[in-house]
C-alpha cells in the first residue's frame, strides 16, 4: 500500500517536472541551466568563486543577445542550489534540478568529490553537464558520456615541476632527488601518479614518498626527513592546509630545498604577505589559468580583458576557479548554438565536437570528456605576486632557481 502511494507520488513528481520545463521555456524564452554549488560548508570560498564565474559568463552571453538555437534567441539562466559541500546533498540536488525544476542541461559543482557524486545522476538522466572544477583523473575513466570538463586533469598539476627541475638542476637526471608528501585523497594521489610518471621518465630518484593524513595537523616528521636527505625538489599536495603548513613549518624547522612545488597556494593565501611574510617566496604553484596567459577568444577577448571585467564586477582578481567556471558557460552556450535544438542528445553531440578558443585557453574534449587542448601552468610566487614560469610558450618570466 505504502509502496503504491510512494510510487504514485514519485510518478506525479516526475510528470510535474517534465511538464514545468517546456512551459517555462516557451513563456520566457530562457534556457535554464542547473547548478548545485557549495555556497556554504568547507568549500564555500571556492564555491563562491565558481558561482561568480558562472554568473559573469551568463551575464556576458545574455548581454551579447543570448544564444541562438534553431533561429530563435534565448537568454540563459542558472538555477542554483547550495550543496553545503556534501556529496550526498549534491547528488540529491542534481536529481531535484532534473526532475522537479526540469533542467535539461547542467553546469558542474565545485570539487572532484561533488562532481563524482553528481555525474552518475546526470548520466542516468542523459543530461549534458559541463563541469569546471572536478579535475580528478578518476572522473574520466568511468565511461561517462554526458560529462565534459574544461579544465586539465589532476595528474598534470605538478608534472611541469618535474620537467623544470630536470632542466635547471644542472646535473644528470639520475642524480636528481625528489621528495613527495601527498595527502591520502584521490585528488592528491592523482597528482602523485602524474609526478611519478615523469620522475620515472626522466630517471630521477624518489627519496621520500609520504602520504599525509586527511586531518593533517603537523608535518614535523616529514620535514625532518627532508632536512636529512636534502632532495632537489619537494612536492607537496595537501589542499590549503598542507600548503600553509609546509610553508610555516619549513621555516620553523630550518628546512631548505632548492625547489618547492605546491598545489592550492591561492586558497591557502600564501601570497598574502601580511599573513605569511616572505616565507612562501619562490614557491612553485600549480594553476589551471592565470590572467597573464596569452589565450583569447570571441567572448571576453583576452585573458587580461576577462580579468579586468571580472575585477570591475566583483572587486577582486579572478582566481582560476572563477575563470574556468565562466569558460564552462561559454562552452555550453557555444554547444547549444551549434546543436541548433534543445534536444539533450543533440547538445551532447555538439559538446563532444567542441573545439574553441577562449580567454581560458583552447578547449577540445577527449573521448572521456576531459579537456586535452589546454596545458597546466606553473607559477612562481615572488613577493606576494604570481608569475607564470612554465610552460615556456606562455611564461611571463624566467624561473628563479635555486630558491635563494
Amino acid at each position: 500500500m505504502i509502496n503504491k502511494i510512494l510510487g504514485t507520488a514519485v510518478k506525479a513528481l516526475v510528470l510535474s517536472g517534465l511538464m514545468i520545463s517546456p512551459v517555462a521555456m516557451a513563456d520566457t524564452h530562457t534556457i535554464p541551466l542547473g547548478a548545485a554549488v557549495s555556497l556554504s560548508g568547507k568549500y564555500s570560498t571556492a564555491g563562491n568563486h565558481t558561482k561568480n564565474g558562472y554568473d559573469l559568463g551568463v551575464k556576458y552571453v545574455n548581454s551579447m543577445g543570448g544564444v541562438s538555437v534553431g533561429g530563435k534567441m534565448y537568454d540563459i539562466e542558472i538555477i542554483y542550489y547550495d550543496d553545503e559541500s556534501t556529496p550526498a546533498r549534491g547528488a540529491s540536488l542534481a536529481e531535484r534540478l532534473i526532475l522537479r525544476d526540469g533542467v535539461s542541461f547542467m553546469l558542474g559543482p565545485y570539487s572532484s568529490g561533488l562532481t563524482k557524486a553528481i555525474a552518475p545522476v546526470t548520466e542516468k538522466h542523459g543530461v549534458p553537464m559541463v563541469e569546471a572544477n572536478g579535475a580528478s583523473r578518476s572522473l574520466f575513466n568511468q565511461g561517462y558520456k554526458y560529462m565534459f570538463a574544461v579544465l586539465s586533469t589532476s595528474e598534470q598539476y605538478l608534472q611541469e615541476a618535474v620537467n623544470q627541475i630536470a632542466e635547471h638542476a644542472g646535473k644528470p637526471a639520475s642524480e636528481i632527488t625528489v621528495a613527495l608528501a601527498m595527502e591520502n585523497d584521490p585528488f592528491s594521489q592523482d597528482i602523485r601518479a602524474g609526478v611519478m610518471d615523469d620522475v620515472k621518465r626522466h630517471g630521477m630518484k624518489i627519496v621520500i614518498d609520504d602520504k599525509l593524513p586527511r586531518d593533517l595537523s603537523d608535518m614535523t616528521s616529514t620535514l625532518v626527513k627532508v632536512k636529512a636527505l636534502k632532495p632537489d625538489l619537494l612536492v607537496v599536495s595537501g589542499h590549503s592546509k598542507g600548503a600553509a603548513l609546509v610553508v610555516r613549518q619549513m621555516n620553523d624547522l630550518g628546512v631548505y630545498v632548492k625547489m618547492l612545488a605546491l598545489t592550492h597556494c591561492e586558497s591557502a593565501k600564501l601570497h598574502d604577505t601580511e599573513k605569511f611574510g616572505n616565507l612562501a617566496d619562490y614557491t612553485l604553484c600549480a594553476a589551471q589559468w592565470a590572467p597573464s596567459v596569452t589565450s583569447e577568444g570571441a567572448m571576453f577577448g583576452t585573458a587580461g580583458n576577462y580579468s579586468a571585467i571580472f575585477e570591475s564586477e566583483y572587486g577582486y582578481v579572478p582566481p582560476y576557479q572563477a575563470a574556468e567556471s565562466t569558460a564552462a558557460v561559454l562552452v555550453m552556450a557555444d554547444a547549444l548554438t551549434r546543436a541548433g535544438s534543445l534536444d539533450k542528445d543533440a547538445v551532447r553531440d555538439a559538446l563532444a565536437a567542441t573545439d574553441m578558443s577562449t580567454f581560458y585557453g583552447q578547449i577540445k574534449f577527449s573521448e572521456a570528456g576531459n579537456n586535452i587542448a589546454k596545458p597546466m601552468l606553473l607559477r612562481q610566487l615572488i613577493d606576494g605576486k604570481y608569475y607564470v614560469v612554465a610552460p615556456a610558450n606562455v611564461a611571463d618570466t624566467a624561473l628563479v632557481y635555486p630558491r635563494p
Partner: protein, 302 residues
C-alpha cells in the same frame, strides 16, 4: 624504511630534533588532556567537543592578532577569560543536564553535537580558510644548524608548564581546589558538607574550556587551524588520558610529551601515513596489558 632508520642511527642530531620537537609540543597536548581528565574525573563527562574548544581559542588569537594588532602571545590571557566564560555558558545551557547520566552514550552524543554546532558556527563566523598566526619570534640554532628549534615552541612549552603548575597548586592547596577534589571523590558527601557542587561543576568545565583555549592559542601560533580540524585534538587528548589514567597529573605530562615524540620518530621511520595508526595500535596494546594485569590482581584478591 631501513634507509630512514639508518639515518637516525648514523646522524643522531635528526633523532634529537624529532624528540625535542615532540617533547616541546607534547606539553600543549598535555595541557588539553589535563582539562579532559579534570572534567572526566570530577563530572564523569567525556567531552567530545574538546578539540573545537581548542580551535575556537585559536581563532580568537588569530582575530585579535589580525584585527586589533595584539601580539599573539599577549592574547593568551584574553583567550583564557573568553573561553572560561564560554565554558561556563555551555555548562549552564547543556552540560549540567548530562550530570548523573547512567548511559555514557548520551554524554558522548551531546558533546559531539556541541562539536558539530561549533564547527559550523566557526565556519560561518571565521570562514573556511586555513589560518595561522605567525608570532615571528625567530629560532634557536644549535650545533651548527643541525638542530633548529623555533622559539615559539620553547615559549609554548614554558607557558604550558606554568599554567599546569599553577593549576596543580590551586588544586592542591586552595579551598576551591579542595572543593573540586571533594566533589570528585564523593559529590553527595561534598554537598552535605556545604559545598555548592553546581558551582564546582560549572567552574571545572569553565577551567577546562580555558585550558583548551590556551592550547588553541599556542596551536595557531605553531601550526595552522581550520574549523574542521578539532577532532584531531579531541582524540589526542583522549588518548593521553587513557594512557596516563585519570587524576594522574605527572602521568598526563609524560604521556603527552612521550606520545608526541614517539609519533615524530615513527612518522620519520615508517612514513607520515602510519603515524596515527601506530599510536593507536600502541594504545590497544597498552589497554590489553593493563586489563590483563587488572584481572590478575582481582583474582589475587579473590
Amino acid at each position: 624504511m631501513i634507509t630512514y632508520l639508518k639515518i637516525l642511527i648514523e646522524s643522531p642530531e635528526f633523532l634529537a630534533q624529532l624528540l625535542i620537537n615532540g617533547f616541546l609540543i607534547g606539553a600543549i597536548f598535555a595541557l588539553i588532556a589535563y582539562g579532559l581528565a579534570l572534567i572526566w574525573g570530577v563530572m564523569d563527562i567525556i567531552n567530545f567537543a574538546q578539540g573545537e574548544l581548542v580551535i575556537f581559542g585559536g581563532y580568537i588569537t588569530y582575530t585579535l592578532f589580525y584585527q586589533f594588532g595584539i601580539h599573539p602571545i599577549l592574547t593568551i590571557p584574553i583567550v583564557a577569560v573568553v573561553l572560561y566564560a564560554y565554558g561556563w555558558a555551555i555548562y549552564k545551557t547543556i552540560i549540567y543536564r548530562l550530570l548523573g547520566q547512567k548511559d555514557i552514550f548520551i554524554t558522548i552524543l551531546a558533546t559531539f553535537g556541541i562539536a558539530i554546532l561549533m564547527q559550523q558556527l566557526m565556519q560561518a563566523i571565521f570562514g573556511p580558510d586555513v589560518v595561522t598566526a605567525n608570532p615571528e619570534l625567530g629560532m634557536q640554532v644549535l650545533f651548527d644548524g643541525k638542530i633548529i628549534i623555533a622559539n615559539i615552541q620553547i615559549i609554548s612549552f614554558l607557558i604550558s608548564l606554568c599554567v599546569g603548575t599553577i593549576l596543580f597548586i590551586v588544586m592542591r592547596y586552595s579551598r576551591f581546589g579542595q572543593a573540586i577534589r571533594a566533589t570528585s571523590q564523593n559529590s553527595r558527601a561534598a554537598r552535605i558538607l556545604g559545598i555548592d557542587i553546581d558551582k564546582v561543576y560549572a567552574n571545572t568545565f569553565a577551567i577546562n574550556a580555558a585550558l583548551c583555549g590556551i592550547g588553541g592559542s599556542l596551536v595557531v601560533m605553531i601550526w595552522t587551524i581550520h574549523p574542521f580540524i578539532g577532532l584531531v585534538y579531541t582524540f589526542r587528548s583522549f588518548m593521553i588520558v587513557i594512557l596516563a589514567g585519570l587524576g594522574n597529573f605527572a602521568g598526563i605530562i609524560f604521556a603527552g610529551m612521550g606520545v608526541s615524540a614517539l609519533e615524530n620518530v615513527v612518522g620519520f621511520i615508517i612514513g607520515a601515513e602510519f603515524q596515527a595508526a601506530f599510536i593507536f595500535c600502541l594504545l590497544v596494546i597498552i589497554l590489553i596489558v593493563r586489563s590483563a594485569r587488572a584481572r590478575k590482581k582481582r583474582e589475587y584478591i579473590a
